[in-house]
Amino acid sequence: MADDATEARRSALAGLDLGSRAGGAGGVLLGEGPAQESFVLRGPAADTAFAQAVEEVLGAGLPLEPGEVREVCEDALLIRLGPDEWRLMAPLSDDGRLAARVASGLAGGPGALVNVSSASTIIAVTGEHAADLLATGTGIDLDPAAFPPGRAVRTHIGNAQALVQRRAEDAFDLHVPRSYARSFWEWLEERGREFDAAVAL
């Protein structure tokens, strides 16, 4: 019988055979980010029972500023995406344990947690011209003063909706819908020619 765990995590970019093309230096490096567990957390921000239930499990309060990214327990991140929506990102090694605890903490209250791990592919864009490349396809202001490292926004880039997580001034993680991953990658490579884009190892 096939290894279910391996099959479940087959990358949407597997067909591009990136491993064999990796190498070289360029103004921008494109690579697939490490797969993570991802959950949509919904609930009323103003509801104290909801906020407390989340804080009790995660060890940190809900981030309340739009686009705020907060480190919580077990190397997980909580990102504020909307008035009543957050994204919980956890390492694959966590294997659903944290999410199970959040879900049981929310039981009976007004919040909900949904696993969306397989819905998106994470593409890492790094390098001197990373922001320049993304700026060719989005209307959001990528100046570090307006979008500092450590923040995230959901927007549209190129042909896809993307959750953009800025790790550093020159490092972005783009969470794009899985079915768009391949065409989005090709869009990045096409636009990246101007900046000598290379595939990261």
Partner: protein, 86 residues
């Protein structure tokens, strides 16, 4: 291109939004009792003003909330914007 000031996300390009039409249309409160005329009016006959208009926009690529936006259909000038259901 419109730059719509989303109350949650800040100013974003119109391409992040989906247009949802007139914000003032009211569904008949009691569908069973509504006359054909009332249904037809609700479904098909909407105002098409040249000038200020209150309309719905869905912030599809942002906070994924419906907004009520005041927009002048003649000049594209935007007025107040608020979350449709806060």
């Amino acid at each position: 291109m419109l730059l719509i000031p989303c109350p949650f996300c800040g100013a974003r390009d119109e391409t992040e939004f989906a247009y949802g039409g007139d914000a003032g249309v009211e569904r008949p409160t009691d569908p069973e009792a509504a006359t054909d005329e009332a249904w037809t009016d609700y479904l098909c006959f909407h105002d098409n003003p040249k000038g200020p208009h209150r309309e719905l926009w869905f912030h599809r690529d942002g906070c994924r909330r419906w907004l009520e936006v005041e927009r002048d259909t003649w000049t594209h000038e935007l007025g107040a914007v608020r979350l449709s259901r806060p």
